[in-house]
């Protein structure tokens, strides 16, 4: 089982690799341009393959993707479900 920090770091690395920068803890991923409605599909693919989870479609909401913390919560929840 990955720790919360490990999950967070993996996501940060992903942003670093794809965008050349990564978000601070509570920064809005949408407002700061890390995510838009059109980049979500790709990001979802990354999360599912990286963490071996399947994120149910009803969880794809703005609040679950608003910040790094929120995404980490979402992944933790899915990992526990497995």
């Amino acid at each position: 089982m990955m720790t919360r920090e490990e999950i967070k770091n993996a996501i940060k690395t992903h942003f670093q690799n794809t965008m050349g920068r990564n978000p601070k803890e509570s920064e809005s991923l949408f407002e700061k341009g890390f995510l838009d409605s059109f980049g979500v599909v790709e990001f979802l693919g990354f999360l599912e393959s990286q963490f071996g989870v399947s994120i149910p479609v009803e969880e794809i909401t703005e609040s679950n993707f608003s910040t790094l913390d929120a995404v980490t919560d979402l992944i933790e929840k899915q990992m526990e479900r497995k």
């Binding site: 949408f30 838009d36 409605s37 059109f38 979500v40 790709e42 479609v57 794809i60 703005e62």
Partner: protein, 521 residues
């Protein structure tokens, strides 16, 4: 005599119902009276900066109450609105500021750290002082309470320029399209008429206001005295929730939004929702694939769905009556009121049924032309060819550059861009035709088709995004061979994780095609 200027629309609705909510942005809102009052204060601020009548005012703000206040304030002060979408990159913003000769800018401190503002003399900044220093600058809050409302009326006529729209620039740098007050007001009259909008409507503004289609939603709102909800679209689940919760009655969208709604990984359509308030849904800015039209019909069974066609140079040309949508889901319909549409072949004659030709628009909504670009203006805004050689100068029509055809009953069908037709394997193929065929394959979400040269021959390439990860190049070509004539079967299939988008949220076709071609070299 009124309304003949855009702000008259607002002032008249304010007189009728001052306490009605005009704008909603998240938890904030403005009544008609508040918007009028703040716009007048903003106009006074511009006057105090010494702006001239007809001066171009750059507005670099997010879709917000402040943005709308700045727009109406500019019109009241006799200025010309130039909306600059903050998601543009520095080079594009610099181009607009330079090309449009903008010396006065409205923005907020957060946006002024990264952009090029050497030429800007005057600024009105919402919020705190930022890093950039201007010769003259006012720092205001959204109430604009530091200024008293403008009392005098600036003399203007309806042919004065109200705004300049910088197109999202899928080809080269963006061009400025010059629009008059008359164009904007006629656009509102016509659209409200054929879509049957009313004062009770609750209109959602998903599109940016620098997009003519998004701008028109605001015009319709203030003309009718309706309520406009400024909304930033991120996730389709939230959008559906918002439509339901706010009992939205009018929704204008574009194909990339619809394709997100029907993306099985992104949007939960199984949850029962109540969309009974949604009376009108419109599409423009690209053709909707037939499976998605059918999906929209199922998702919003009580909603009248309008499929429309337009180009910024003449705003809107056609719509399909909602009663026809199940019989002709692939049609863009017929001309809107106060507009005529011709289909003209290469000899300049009107096409017969099913003959492909260029769509030519005549009527109310023809804009004034391109800013600073007489050559390009002459190419698109031409004398009416049907008036005879001596009298052609009496009327300007717009040659759209779009190839369409008409059926026997006069319904129009979009074929493709004139300059994008692909001559392959002895056939003339429209990218749209290929794209529509491809998105009918289960698991294919979006598609862009183009021609490419290989050993002196033109072949067909498609770029795809897929919702089914197991789809491979081979499977897709195999599917195409089963269902399509040989000349429509792509020779090359490129699967992308996402398409680049223009600032208005449309797929940036040119970028997809050119970036790939460059990477291949």
């Amino acid at each position: 005599m009124r309304p003949y200027l855009i702000h008259h629309l607002l002032e008249e609705s304010t007189e009728k119902n001052p306490q009605k909510t005009c704008l909603v942005e998240g938890a904030r809102s403005l009544t008609y009276q508040e918007l009028t009052e703040r716009s007048k204060r903003f106009a006074q601020a511009l006057m105090d900066l010494g702006i001239q009548k007809g001066e171009h005012i750059g507005i670099l703000l997010d879709k917000s109450l402040e943005q709308v206040i700045a727009m109406f304030g500019t019109w009241m002060a006799g200025g010309v609105v130039v909306l600059i979408n903050p998601i543009l990159n520095t080079e594009q913003i610099a181009h607009i500021l330079f090309d449009c000769e903008i010396q006065t800018l409205v923005s907020d401190a957060a946006k002024l750290s990264s952009s090029p503002f050497e030429k800007i003399r005057n600024a009105i900044i919402f919020g705190e002082k930022g890093e950039v220093a201007f010769e003259h600058a006012f720092y205001i809050d959204s109430t604009v309470s530091a200024f008293s409302p403008l009392q005098k009326e600036v003399r203007q006529v309806s042919d004065d320029t109200s705004h300049i729209i910088y197109t999202s620039g899928s080809t080269g740098l963006p061009k400025g399209i010059v629009v008059s007050h008359r164009n904007a007001i006629d656009g509102a009259f016509i659209v409200c008429d054929y879509t049957g909008l009313c004062a009770e409507d609750r209109i959602i503004g998903v599109l940016p206001l620098n997009f003519d289609y998004g701008f028109n939603q605001l015009m319709n709102t203030v003309y009718l005295g309706a309520t406009f909800f400024l909304y930033d679209f991120f996730m389709p689940n939230d959008l559906l929730h918002f439509l339901e919760k706010e009992r939205i009655s009018v929704f204008a969208g574009i194909p990339p939004i619809w394709s997100k709604l029907f993306h099985p990984k992104l949007c939960d359509l199984s949850k029962p929702r109540d969309f009974s308030a949604l009376r009108v849904l419109t599409n423009s800015g690209g053709k909707v694939p037939v499976p998605i039209v059918q999906g929209l019909r199922k998702l919003f069974p009580h909603t009248r769905i309008f499929l429309m066609y337009g180009l910024t140079e003449a705003f809107r040309s056609t719509y399909l009556d909602p009663s026809e949508i199940d019989q002709r889901p692939d049609s863009i319909g017929k001309a809107i009121p106060n507009v005529e549409v011709f289909v003209i072949n290469s000899e300049g004659k009107e096409c017969g049924p099913h003959e492909e030709g260029e769509l030519v628009h005549r009527g109310a909504l023809i804009t004034k032309g391109y800013w600073n670009n007489p050559e390009k203006t002459k190419e698109v805004f031409r004398p009416n060819p049907f008036l005879g050689p001596e009298n052609q100068h009496l009327e300007t029509v717009v040659f759209s550059g779009d190839i369409v055809k008409k059926d026997e009953e006069g319904f129009l069908y979009y074929v493709g861009r004139k300059d994008a037709m692909i001559k392959t394997k002895g056939y003339r193929v429209s990218p749209t035709e290929v794209e529509e065929a491809l998105v009918r394959i289960q698991g294919v979400s979006e598609c862009v088709a183009c021609g490419y040269e290989s050993d002196g021959e033109i072949l067909l390439r498609v770029f795809l995004t897929v919702s089914d990860g197991s789809l491979t190049r081979e499977k897709i070509i195999g599917e195409c061979k089963k269902r399509l004539p040989f000349y429509l079967v792509p020779d090359d299939v490129v699967i992308l994780s996402q398409f680049p988008l223009t600032a208005n949220g449309k797929i940036d076709r040119t970028r997809v095609i050119e970036e790939y071609a460059r990477a291949q070299q």
